[in-house]
Amino acid sequence: MTLSDTIAGLLGLNADDPLHFFVAAILASAIVGTFMLVNVAIAGPWAKRKITAAFTDRIAVNRIGPFGLMVIVADAVRLLSKELIVPEKVDRPAWDLAPLLIAGSALLGFAVIPMGNGIQVADPEVGLAYVFAVASLASVGLVMAGYASNNKYSMLGGLRAVAQNLAYEIPLVLTGVSVVLFAGTLQLGNVDAANTIVGAQQATLATIGGIAIPSWYAFVNPFAFVLFLVANLAEVGRNPFDTPEAPTEIVAGYQTEYSSVYFVLMYLGEFIHIFLGGAIVATIFLGGPAGPVLPGIVWFLIKIWAVFLFTQWARSALPRVRIDQLIEIGWKGMLVLSFANLILTAIIVGVVV
């Protein structure tokens, strides 16, 4: 039962009628989209500052509202009211579309993510393939932004971004495929749907001291989990792989020339991507929204925020690698390891199942 079906039922719409279903799906998407944007709103102007401040022994925002939370509103107003500077000779349609594409592509991914308590817009059979496909659309946006900005720093950043995404997308997808080998399906499904990626993780792997350990793929194949986390860091462009932005080298990379609302969109896109990365990690490695006591949606939030925390931690502590080293790690290290992981998984699946 997806969220769209539930809404259709609540509104008395006929889920089999395409028009009715479309309305219900739009409503469901709006709910999920708003929910994720709220997360991003908390993460971007507030949580990120607080987390980084904690790592660097500072206090950060604490002036407006309780715990400084109202800075979210203040920053939103501030950023949106700034002048939108359009540099000379930017490649207009591309320059304007890039921020939309970057922010939009990541939001699309959440359409198939099971967030617990029946919050899932759709559950197609090709769910995982769909998530990877829309998430990688952002690369196009980065190239557009880098190329259209008529700025050399943007150009360098755009080229770096596409080189990096190519180098890490393949290990990422290959590692994802190893999960597919386990589950035997691309469908993300839900906790109670047995023959899906999430459903398959609910079985008990082992019982230690009376506590049942679920067969989350992070426990079944920790190697793939680590590989995926690292590739994901590169995919969202966080240290040690924040080379495409590399503020101290190339100012801000592809987003150098974006101001005001476009800057918000770029930034937003980055954070949604981090959360989408977290959602994919949670879904295919950490049992989706499953967990004891608390409702599924809370567990889902805990898991994606944990991944977010991890990216911020890496950002505070790890040095950035150079672009050639980054490409080398991607093509010579991660790719080989992800193939090894795939073969390893195939053997495990072949022997055990």
Partner: protein
């Protein structure tokens, strides 16, 4: 020494190991026109067409391998360029080479083929004074815009003349992207003057071939504030001392003040009381810690990234030092604490509390440094980034006149504090840190280890100050209210500042203000090495190398 065979390095030395100027004069032959006595060393006046011969003879045969500074000035009847030469092996051995040129035709031979460092120094001399150097590879202005009219330090310069320097009149670097040839895919990238990693208003014109750096040219002068001229308009006694603080806003102000104090005290023959010397030594080393901590913290920004925790850790540790220096000097950045003949005032009361503060900092320091080593030097990614990048070979470094941690990171065992002692350094137990890596990593290590050495010095100073008898606490020598050195006294003295050797040349004219005040900033020469390090490497390494030089534009542009 006396038992060894006399090698080429011993030419021009007396038996006692001091410079034998008569022998040097004979060595230089008929190039020498005259001899002058400067307070720091003898100087030979030579023919303007014999600069290269003279300098290379002094370099190759007499071992003067360090062209420390080039001072240019105009007299009523002539122009003059002074090459202040010394040795990396022995800083106390100095010789000046004075090159007079006529008013009508101010051209002398360039020293650039002998010492690379002369490149920028001579450009500056041309820019500010107006002397031209024959055979200079790149005779352009350096500090002032290309369109500037006249030479500000020349005698006939009209200071009231308006100078229009429009952006349009400057060469637009974007016009020619293809620098090498039409077929190449190079791109000219302007890094700075406003860029997150240029540590001040430095403009680096980098020609990129993909991500690789094909050519680098630092463009300086954005924060040229006529510091030399301002010092020439101040009286020796009090009005000049605040300026050196402004050459380094990284916390190294006290070290810079010492450069002026040392030079002016030599000029006016002032002896500083021992008690004041200990206070100077202690506060100067605190200042060095401030500067090195900032260098390390900012380096973390350059290499780790914008949100690095290391930067804030560095800032917090500096905060402790700044509080101590605030207690002592009343200031946190522009200290203005040194006076000719001593320091401004005694340690703050209660003294025990002040010492306790310093001790607490020193005691905590090893643990804090351990954290920097954990976060930076022992991190594999940082090692991959910095080891063997930005290489600066010792011979190259010497030719460019590199000093300070940059030279010591290239294995050059050179530190003015030890080699030409001043203050209380020679009576304390500490080491000169050198690393043989010649790379970015080595320079980072040198700075971190120098913080430890500074802490050692401070600790010993506190020991001394604690036991100092109360009746013997003279903080200032008896200095005349107005200092008027004999006319035409010339002196060049330097100290080990945070970034490198900071030298000051003063010529007096009998008044209470200097007739010529020349500053040799350590960063000026260090920054000049950047192309040697960065060319052929990646743009990320260019940034890392620039950061590892720890330049401060205040003493580059002055």
């Amino acid at each position: 020494m006396s038992l060894e065979e006399p090698g080429p390095r011993d030419v021009g030395l007396t038996k006692a190991g001091e410079v034998n100027y008569d022998e040097l004069e004979a060595l230089l032959g008929d190039a020498v026109l005259d001899r002058e006595t400067h307070l720091n060393a003898e100087a030979f006046v030579i023919r303007p067409d014999a600069v290269q011969d003279t300098l290379s003879t002094l370099k190759e045969e007499a071992g003067f391998d360090f062209l420390n500074c080039v001072t240019a000035q105009e007299y009523q009847d002539r122009y003059e360029t002074i090459y202040h030469m010394t040795k990396y092996d022995d800083r106390t051995q100095e010789v000046g080479v004075v090159v007079p040129t006529s008013k009508d035709d101010p051209v002398s031979e360039s020293a650039e083929p002998v010492f690379r460092t002369a490149d920028w120094h001579e450009r500056e001399a041309y820019d500010l004074v107006g002397i031209e150097y024959e055979g200079h590879p790149d005779p352009r202005r350096i500090l002032l815009p290309d369109t500037w009219q006249g030479h500000p330090l020349s005698l006939d310069y009209d200071q009231t003349k308006p100078q229009i320097v429009t952006l349009r009149e400057n060469r637009n670097p974007l016009q020619e992207d293809q620098r090498l040839n039409d077929d190449s895919d190079t791109m000219l990238l302007n890094i700075g003057p406003h860029h997150p990693a240029t540590h001040g208003v430095l403009h680096v014109e980098a020609t990129l071939d993909g991500e690789q750096v094909a050519d680098v040219e630092p463009d300086i002068g954005y924060i040229h504030r006529c510091e030399e001229q301002m010092c020439q308009q101040g009286t020796y006694r009090h009005q000049i001392m605040p300026y050196p603080d402004r050459w380094d806003w990284g916390g190294a102000g006290l070290l810079n003040e010492w450069a002026y104090a040392r030079t002016a005290e030599t000029l006016a023959d002032i002896d500083v009381p021992e008690y004041a010397q200990v206070i100077r030594t202690m506060s100067a080393e605190l200042s060095r810690i401030l500067s090195h901590m900032l260098a390390v913290a900012a380096y973390a920004l350059d290499v780790v990234g914008d949100f690095t925790a290391t930067f804030m850790y560095g800032m917090q540790d500096r905060e402790t030092v700044q509080n101590i220096l605030e207690d002592l000097t009343g200031q946190r950045l522009m200290f203005n604490y040194f006076r000719l003949g001593g320091v401004a005032w005694d340690l703050p009361e209660p003294r025990e509390e002040f010492f306790e503060k310093i001790r607490a900092f020193i005691d905590d320091l090893p643990e804090k440094l351990e954290e920097y080593h954990n976060l930076l030097t022992s991190n594999e990614i940082l090692q991959v980034r910095t080891v063997n990048t930005g290489r600066l070979e010792p011979e190259v470094a010497k030719s460019y006149g590199a000093t300070g941690p940059v030279a010591r990171g290239s294995g050059i065992d050179y530190d003015v504090r030890r080699d030409d002692p001043y203050g209380y350094y020679d009576k304390l137990d500490w080491d000169v840190v050198t690393e043989d890596g010649c790379d970015n990593y080595a320079r980072l290590l040198v700075r971190l280890q120098e913080v430890e050495e500074s802490a050692k010095i401070i600790n010993q100073c506190v020991d001394l100050l604690e036991d100092w008898p109360e009746e013997d606490r003279t903080i200032q020598a008896n200095v005349p209210r107005t200092i008027k050195p004999e006319p035409d006294t010339e002196v060049y003295k330097s100290v080990e500042a945070a970034k490198g050797e900071l030298g000051i040349y003063i010529r007096s004219d009998g008044t209470d203000k200097p007739a010529r005040f020349k500053i040799r900033g350590g960063s000026f020469s260090n920054l000049q090495t950047l192309p040697e390090m960065a060319e052929g490497e990646y743009i990320a390494d260019l940034i890392a190398s620039l950061g590892s030089l720890d330049t401060i534009m205040g003493e580059v542009d002055r």
